[in-house]
Subunit: 96 residues, 2 copies
C-alpha cells in the first residue's frame, strides 16, 4: 500500500532562527507591523510503499532521524495518510 | 488578539523539485527502497496581532503572495490558530 508521510522539520525553540528574523524584517518593511515573530522550517512530503500505516510512520521517523532533520537543533513531526498510487508525483516533478 | 499563522509553501506539481530528488536519492542510498517520491517545501510560522481570525488569515495570505511564496512556481496554504501571547518566541529565537 502506498502512504504519504508529511514531515514538518522545525528548529528547536532554543535555537536562533536567522531566516525567520529575516522574514520578519521583510514583513515589517512591507508594513506588516503586527508581525511579532516568525519561525522558518521545512515541510517534506514522502510517498512510500509500506505494509501498514504504522510501518510507514516508523520508517518516516527513521528517515527524519537519519537524514531529514538534524536532531541536535531540529524537531520533527510525522503524519501519515493513505494515497492512491496515481497521486504520487513521479520522482519529484513531472519533467522527470 | 494574537494569532499564529501556519503557512505551507510547496512547489506546484508541474515544477521540477531538485531538492526533493536529492532527498529521494539520499533515502534510497540509506536503504529506503520503498520511497517513490519526495517533495520539499517550506513551513513558516507567523505570530501576529490582528483584530480577528479572518483578518489574520487575510494578512497571512497577503504576506504569502508578496514575500513568502513565489506565485509563479509555488502554492501556499494558510491555517490560523489563536495563541497565548506567551507562546510566541520573541523575534525568532531566545538568544535575541
Amino acid at each position: 500500500m502506498q502512504y504519504k508521510a508529511e514531515i514538518h522539520v522545525t528548529l528547536k525553540r532554543t535555537v536562533n532562527d536567522p531566516q525567520g528574523l529575516a522574514i520578519r524584517g521583510g514583513l515589517h518593511s512591507l508594513g506588516y507591523e503586527g508581525v511579532e515573530a516568525v519561525r522558518a522550517g521545512k515541510f517534506i512530503e514522502v510517498w512510500l510503499e509500506a505494509d501498514s500505516a504504522e510501518e510507514a510512520e516508523r520508517q518516516a521517523g527513521e528517515m527524519s532521524d537519519q537524514l531529514l532533520a538534524n536532531p541536535v537543533i531540529e524537531d520533527y513531526t510525522v503524519a501519515i495518510g493513505e494515497t492512491l498510487t496515481q497521486a504520487s508525483p513521479s520522482g519529484g516533478g513531472v519533467t522527470e
